[in-house]
Amino acid sequence: MEKSKWMEMYRIMRLIRLVEQRINDEYKYDEIKTPIHLSIGQEAVAAGVCIHLRKDDYIFGTHRSHSQYIAKGGDIKKMIAELYLRKTGCARGRGGSMHLVDPEVGILGSSAIVGGNIPLGTGTALASKLLNNDRVTVVFFGDGAVDEGTFHESLNFAALKKLPVVYVCENNFYAINSHQLSRQVGDNIYKWAQNYGMPGFQIDGNDVLEVSDYAEKAISRCRNGEGPTLIECLTYRWKGHIGTVDDVGEGYRPREEYEYWVSKCPIKRFSEFLKDQGVLTDELIKKIDQEIYDLIEEAFSFAQNSPKPSPDELMDFVYAD
């Protein structure tokens, strides 16, 4: 990987983190009237994967998809406006945080039904095959989605037809409060790939270089018509499942587990690496942060000053023309 891409990945991870933190901070004012699921702690996955995607490649996300939208190059102003449910939002205020979209960069939507996006992304990959183009699809989903039959049904079909799709499981070990081991036998999601005759890997989802590495290979396999890959990225969400609540401690996630993962912060780790490599300095960090803060400021102010949809638009878009 070229070093220029390192900096881009860093910037994207940082952008995701700071956007999420700002959302977190603003949420208490009750102006973001939509459920939010923050990706803080999981930034490396989206960043490491999307860096290898072209604008015309497709991604599909879930309820927790801010990071992927940002990494794929979705318009930040329209994203924040969507969270504020404004007419200028990427889904014109009809979708909210769980339903981000930006077709211009291949984001065809995300589904808040667990497992629901896996067939959809398999379908865009089918389209690439039938249209004989080399567009790749990446489907992002959680460990929870692996519980659903759609996971298997889709992987089977993709493997059978050798479709250009990369399945990226962001395994953060929890579905709401339910631990992976209380829902699944074993903790090796990547192994399912084997039986479908596709490559499958379990990797450190907090190591953006490792993610990028595996993603690059998987994506180029897709472009070469060699079929799908499953990548299980082990990672961790810092915030509670939903909103800005805390779910660490008694009856929830163990504090040690939480602290362990916070210590493995993907951004800290990568920035240390970049510093070691001599391409990142404290000064540069500040500069990049400042650029990002400006961008975020602009996006929030755009959003907050945008008009809301008007009630008489209620029936628009039920059907496409």
Binding site: Y58, F60, G89, C90, A91, R92, G93, R94, G95, H99, V101, P103, L108, G109, S111, I113, G116, I118, P119, L120, G121, T122, G123, T124, A125, L126, A127, S128, K129, L130, L131, R135, T137, G149, T150, E153, S154, N156, F157, L160, D316, F317, V318, Y319, A320, D321
Partner: protein, 347 residues
Amino acid sequence: MPWTTVQVEKLDNFFIMGDHTGDRVLTYRDALREALDQSLARDPRVFIMGEGVDDVAGVFGTTKGLKEKYGANRVFDTPIAENSMTGIAVGAAMAGLRPIFIHARMDFLLLSLDQLVNHASKWCYMFGGKVKVPLVVRTISARGWGSGAQHSQCIQGMLMNVPGLKIVAPATPYDAKGLMISAIIDNNPVLFVEHRWLHKTTGYVPEEVYSIPIGKGVIHRRGEDVTIVAVSYMLVEALKAAEKLQESGISAEVIDPRTLKPLDEKILVESVAKTGRLIIADTGCKTGSVASEIAAVAAEKAFHFLKKPIKRVCCPDTPTPTSDVLEKAFYPTAEDIFAEAVSLVRE
């Protein structure tokens, strides 16, 4: 050979005039096949997927030979995984293709409602019109020869409650071809409701490509005394009933809404304005049926024209029995429509 063929082969060859005349008579099945054939030919984005769509039987003949003609990329068999296959079709539609997904029985649609209802039907709205899902889902309801509770359901009534979905249920060969073409060129998910007993009906069908507006019903027979709105296969029974009513001096107007959602309320209200009496015949179970919805619309919008209670002629609220005797008791026929009409007009 699918078993319902046993039963279908025993049916009378029912000819439906339709609102088109001409000299070419086709079966409903061949009309459908022609619509698919012509659509595959004219639009490279169209493709067909589903269990057995490429096999020798070709979904009761409706896809026969299409794989040979258009290749295995455009007409292909799928694993038995209705929910994901639907979602895969939906994804392909989002990427600009025009998939036609086929369920050999409507019962299997129940496995796929997550993708059809939670996803396909909501996508356009949920994303402010930015992504479209031009998808056709064909479902075929069986009847008879002990199809039983899990292989004979007509659940179009359930789907009426789904915003963002269009539902068409053509009853004639002419409508089958025209509405299939309309469904394919429509930019929304369209549920295409077929009834196995219609596959053998015949009627005039033009050779050229034509479409029928979704959302427009048709008057199949004009009359003064009572309006019979008939859904899908019930049109055949309604036309038989109307014939018999004529002999008894009762003039029935027979309407086929063709599109169930969005419903042609105008044709309904205008007819009731004339006759003042309304019978609705549906192939599904009575409660929560399409007939219920039509009755509600009439009670809301044509109330002042109504002289008599609205009558629904549907299957009773029981799973389909397998027994031939119970099947006979279960399915409403022309006789039932006739009896309701007589009592509405005479009493």
